[in-house]
Symmetry: C2
DNA sequence: CGGCATCCGTTCCGATACTG
DNA sequence: CAGTATCGGAACGGATGCCG
């Protein structure tokens, strides 16, 4: 695949030396948004990895209804959670981690561990940097 | 620690069942931004984990000078990279992954692996979802 | 109960121009 | 070469109101 363009026009996926750093970024951009992590981790610790809308609203503090809906919809779109609507009054909707969603918990735990081990260092680096 | 407030007013760190999901989110928000991952992975694959500004600009396609500067500054602030200025003309500035920055590569590799193994599933879930 | 539609302030980020 | 300063559009996300 000859390329006579300037570097800035290359496809990021072919450049950074890993198979697909663009996909990694895309993933991190997704789960790095304001609420996804809280929802995934909340579902992870709930029995059956399943909860209804209002439960999630309560377990994720300060989330707005709007963002809860939007975030869950994105997670559903990515195949990380399922959404099941029960035709009752009042309506009941339950969300559950998929196999795919659960599989994400392992690499996620790696990050949780890293944060546990190194977060103080990060905070210290920040305050050192800021005091200059 | 008694708490008589409504759920929405709780500190997120105490609620989600992990030690500090807020810190995990904060990390993911950082490295989940548009360019950090590319820079960290670029430095990771370079000999000595060290490169100068213009090298990074070339290895991370389509990044603007402004965002390269800002992103590197943030990584430096978090203690993930160092910045060394050489008093020459023309000026030379080199960036290098710190120990802390390198330690992040391990959990990051977990994510890279997950993406390699599951990204097609995610894309398929997305197209399935979108076609409805 | 579990949404959706709208409004609106904030943040992000690319483009451009300028500098030691 | 490696920045900094400024501008403006786009995206994010909270608040509010309405609805089946």
């Amino acid at each position: 695949m000859k390329n006579t363009n300037k570097t800035k026009q290359l496809d990021p996926a072919y450049v950074c030396g890993h198979k697909d750093p663009a996909a990694v970024r895309e993933l991190l951009t997704k789960i790095g948004d304001k609420w996804s992590i809280f929802l995934v981790l909340s579902l992870a610790k709930i029995h059956g990895n399943r909860a209804r809308f209002s439960e999630l609203e309560r377990s994720v503090p300060a989330i707005s209804q709007r963002m809860l809906t939007l975030t869950l919809r994105n997670l559903e779109r990515d195949g990380l959670v399922t959404r099941e609507v029960f035709p009752e009054v009042p309506p009941r909707v339950e969300y559950e981690l998929t196999i795919l969603g659960k599989s994400l918990l392992r690499p996620l735990d790696g990050l949780v561990e890293w944060v546990s081990a190194n977060w103080e260092d990060v905070k210290k680096a920040q305050s050192d940097f800021d005091s200059k």
